[in-house]
């Protein structure tokens, strides 16, 4: 369109907005050849095939033009002209240099300052009051929302889009007017009153201060996410005003926009007089007081995850030893030396402990004595943990194979060749073994070692799989949490994490939890793949979260073990170690066990 001149007068320069029915252009009015007078040309393409539909559209368009022509207010754009060409109609309005509030909200990192939003809100009250006092009939804007509020180059608000759908047509089903999310309950019933605009203004302020888009939340749910719970810097005075504007019953809201303006000015006075006095982030129960029940020091880093059996804790270390410790007091029982570091989580079966080591071997030692029973050689370091099923230990190796080792003979029954190193732990369900490898290939292999199906992620799958009867979950270095159908590998959903992940998910109820290198612990709904909450730690989260009772436990490379309420993601406490935590905690009998790269294994009260 650029370069086109409409009605021999408006020379189109560029598209400045795209709506459902056409675009908005910036154009130069050529009737003023000596000065550059810019206008906004709002185009509406009438592409409806049905003639009745077409006619309705034109009527609505003319209604908007006629309405605007009667208005005169600094916060309402003036209309200069309107015309139709073929199946297109055009409104010519003042060009407003600036940005709409929705764009401002999304382009701002963090929250907008309260003063700024307050200033806009006061001006919006002014223009609403003007519209509501219009004679002979009040004008209800009916579509107050951030994207309909422009902030011009002076920082003042301008209401735009006195659009088409502003009149009520009562139908048998679904009179839907206004923008869902911002509209009050009565507007859905077809009632339009000044009070509805006040509610929508409250919703607009709420959105601006919380960054939570109400269109993505259930209607009328503002009370469930109070301003100050999301944005602690908002004053309680402003929260009170917004809450009143958002009252469910119209009678409980401000009786006019002018009243609301007075209340907002009151807030400005109070908070302004005291300067920028802001509440600090509420300190949450700090775990400064948390003391470990016991700690045990290995000779090198502990990067793996422990296993517990009959009161004994088994954990590997990069000092090459597997340790057996008394779970109650941390007393040393025995250690078994491998020839390489141990990150593999020990598995217990029939009195023996199975684990891999960077010395390329799968080691089997007696749980009681720590004496070797047998070992099995692969051709690469082992970072995977063994999974015991069907008389076999399944384990991956950096040699690029999934090994199925017979528990009785200690000999391999079969090897399945993956495309690259297998560092994830095999997951066994419904007679299939699931495994990911470092190229991002993912395999379902049956008990004979034959491939049933294959999936491919864009980057390595180092994370192990967890699964329910109908879904497998794992993450990839491509920054995605995957949910696949266990029968055929079709992707049910994908959830984007902020960064790569090697963390193994954990599931409970309808939630799946996982960490990522962006430092967040995520909770995602397993049914609709929506984020329920996320919690920020100070560094990468590589280990797997675990759930115990109503808490989630997870370590971070920032050195802390976090305990969160798993339903809300709220911090209960954290415990700092002197090194990174890369393994997963283990919770048993109200005690959390976790290893750290500070060489220690800790036991804490859950």
């Amino acid at each position: 369109m650029a370069g086109v001149t409409l009605a021999s007068r408006y020379s189109i320069q560029e598209v400045i907005g795209v709506g459902g029915m056409g675009s908005v252009y910036r154009a130069r009015d050529m009737h003023f050849p000596n000065v550059t007078k810019l206008v906004a040309v709002k185009e509406m393409i009438n592409s409806a095939p049905d003639p009745l539909v077409r006619q309705t559209i034109v009527q609505n368009f003319e209604r908007e033009a006629n309405l605007l022509a009667t208005l005169n207010h600094a916060s309402i754009p003036r209309i200069n002209d309107y015309f139709s060409l073929d199946s297109r109609s055009y409104l010519v309005l003042d060009f407003i240099k600036g940005k709409d509030m929705e764009a401002i909200i999304s382009d701002t990192n963090g929250f907008l300052p309260e003063e700024q939003v307050l200033g806009w809100a006061v001006e919006l009250c002014d223009v609403l009051e003007y519209l509501h006092r219009h004679k002979p009939d009040p004008i209800i804007f009916r579509d107050m929302k951030p994207s309909n509020v422009m902030i011009n180059s002076n920082g003042d608000v301008v209401l735009v889009d006195f659009g088409i759908a502003k009149t009520f047509q009562t139908g048998i089903k679904g009179t839907m007017i206004g923008t869902e999310g911002y509209s009050p309950p009565e507007q859905y019933r077809g009632e339009a009153t000044p009070s509805a605009d006040i509610y929508a203004l409250g919703a607009t302020i709420h959105h601006a201060l919380t960054r939570r888009d109400p269109r993505l939340e259930p209607p009328f749910s503002f009370a469930e996410r109070p301003l100050r719970r999301i944005n602690t810097s908002v004053s309680s005075e402003l929260e009170t005003v917004v809450n009143r504007a958002l009252e469910y019953n119209p009678e409980s809201r401000f009786s006019s926009a002018a009243d609301m303006k007075q209340a907002l000015l009151g807030v400005a006075k109070k908070t302004g007089a005291l300067g920028r006095l802001k509440t600090q982030t509420t300190p949450i129960a700090q775990a400064g007081g948390i003391k470990p029940l016991w700690a045990f020091k290995c000779e090198d880093e502990v990067r793996g995850t422990p296993t517990i059996h009959q009161g004994v804790l088994y954990i590997g270390s990069y000092d090459n030893n597997l340790y057996a410790l008394n779970a109650a007091d941390g007393k040393f029982q025995w250690k078994y030396p491998a020839d390489g570091g141990i990150v593999s989580r020990p598995a217990l079966y029939d009195g023996n402990i199975y684990f891999g080591s960077e010395d390329k071997r799968l080691h089997v030692v007696s749980a009681r004595s720590g004496k070797v029973v047998w070992t099995y050689y692969t051709e690469g370091p082992i970072r995977s943990s063994p999974r015991i099923a069907e008389g076999h230990a399944f384990i991956g190796s950096d040699d690029g194979y999934l090994h199925a080792v017979n528990l009785n003979s200690g000999r391999v029954s079969w090897r399945f060749e993956a495309a690259d190193a297998v560092r994830s732990t095999p997951f066994v369900m419904n007679d299939l073994v699931y495994i990911g490898c470092e190229t991002g290939d993912y395999y379902a292999v049956d008990y004979r070692g034959e491939l049933k199906w294959r999936f491919h992620a864009k980057r390595a799958i180092t994370s192990s799989t967890v699964g329910s009867a109908s879904t497998l979950y794992f993450t990839s270095v491509d920054g995605t949490l995957y949910a696949l159908d266990p029968k055929n590998g079709w992707p049910l959903w994908r959830f984007r994490l902020g960064k790569a992940s090697i963390s193994t998910p954990c599931i409970i109820d309808d939630l799946v939890f996982v960490g990522a290198a962006d430092g967040f612990i995520y909770a995602v709904d397993t049914r609709n793949s929506k984020e329920v909450w996320r919690y920020r730690t100070e560094h990468q989260v590589n280990g797997s979260p675990v759930i115990y009772k109503d808490s989630l436990y997870c370590g971070s490379v920032d050195g802390n073990l976090y305990c969160l309420e798993y339903r809300t993601g709220r911090l209960r406490w954290k415990f700092g170690t002197q090194g990174a935590i890369t393994g997963s905690p283990l919770v048993y009998d109200d005690i959390v066990y976790v290893g750290s790269t500070d060489h220690q294994v800790y036991a804490l009260l859950a």
């Binding site: 459902g20 139908g171 019933r189 209607p219 590998g489 793949s529």
Partner: protein, 302 residues
């Protein structure tokens, strides 16, 4: 696999007598279906998806603003069996604004988008991994439909409840107040969608009681519909197909008129899915037929 199949059909010791039954057939014969249904065993290897549907303008409307789509594909063979089904009900917002245009555009757009996406994997033996998930494909399909409705019939709107069945996974996309249910042979009925209606929301918030909801004057007002609003946020989720059980999708011309327990009875007691759908439509009409009626029933057996 084949052995299990016949064990399931005839019991372990009985040698197969009727030779025509020895052949593995798809679709299954009526007799085979009955046998499988009777010995419902969730681990049975051979799965088959069955579906039927019914529609009526009702007794008080002149125009049918509902649209319905039911598509079932059976692909069976030695290398496995993958049931594929797509079931959609859309109820155009009536009385004004071309609801029938919207509901029709919705089912065509959604089905068209989904089939285009799956075509290479289902029919061209593509071995690559699908690079979009079921939920992403559903979301795109709904967004596509939204654009088309806003272009072809601006101002109009429609509900949309679509279920994509692949294997035993049901992925649902839902906007508005048509409903998807799971119906179980033991008499339970469970709505799996949540109405985007004013009355349901008020009920959820505790502003009105379920009893008040039944007679609430604005029962038909939706807060979310396809074609309305620029930022559409459909409910999209994936769950396992009930086995044993049925998936039912219907417009409010059925669920708003026939009591849930009568719906269950019609479904469970009918000799076939086709008959069940007929019975449901008749029941809604017998209750006055105040609105258009659409229903789809699907069952995954084996």
């Amino acid at each position: 696999m084949l052995k299990n199949f016949f064990d399931g059909l005839f019991g372990k010791k009985t040698p197969p007598e009727k030779t025509q039954d020895v052949t593995q057939t798809a679709p299954l014969t009526e007799e085979q279906i009955q046998t499988i249904v009777n010995n419902q065993n969730p681990h049975f290897d051979l799965q088959q998806l069955l579906a039927s549907c019914g529609q009526s303008v009702g007794k008080q409307r002149e125009l049918n603003e509902d649209s319905l789509l039911a598509l079932t594909a059976t692909m069976a063979g030695n290398s496995g069996n993958l049931p594929f089904g797509l079931y959609i009900v859309a109820d155009g917002m009536g009385g004004h604004q071309f609801g029938e245009v919207a509901s029709n555009a919705a089912i065509r757009a959604v089905a068209g988008h989904i089939l285009k996406k799956f075509h290479p994997y289902l029919f061209q033996v593509k071995t690559d991994t699908m690079d979009e998930s079921f939920q992403e494909i559903m979301l795109e399909a709904v967004r596509d439909a939204q654009r088309i409705i806003q272009r072809e019939a601006p101002g109009s709107g429609t509900t949309l409840t679509a279920a994509l069945v692949i294997g035993q996974q049901v992925t649902v996309a839902h906007v508005g107040d048509s409903r998807a249910y799971f119906v179980f042979p033991d008499g339970r009925i469970e709505p799996i969608t949540r109405d985007h209606s004013l009355v349901k929301r008020l009920e959820e918030l505790g502003h009105i009681t379920p009893e008040e909801a039944v007679n609430y004057p604005h029962r038909n007002v939706l807060y979310r519909a396809l074609g309305q609003g620029e930022l559409l946020d459909p409910d999209i989720f994936t769950i396992a197909f009930p086995q044993p059980g049925y998936l039912m999708i219907c417009s409010d011309g059925l669920w708003g008129v026939v009591a849930e327990q009568d719906i269950v009875r019609s479904v469970v007691e009918a000799p076939s899915l086709q008959r069940a759908c007929q019975n449901l439509v008749s029941a809604a009409n017998a209750a006055g037929g105040p609105d258009n009626i659409s229903v789809v029933l699907a069952q995954l057996i084996g």
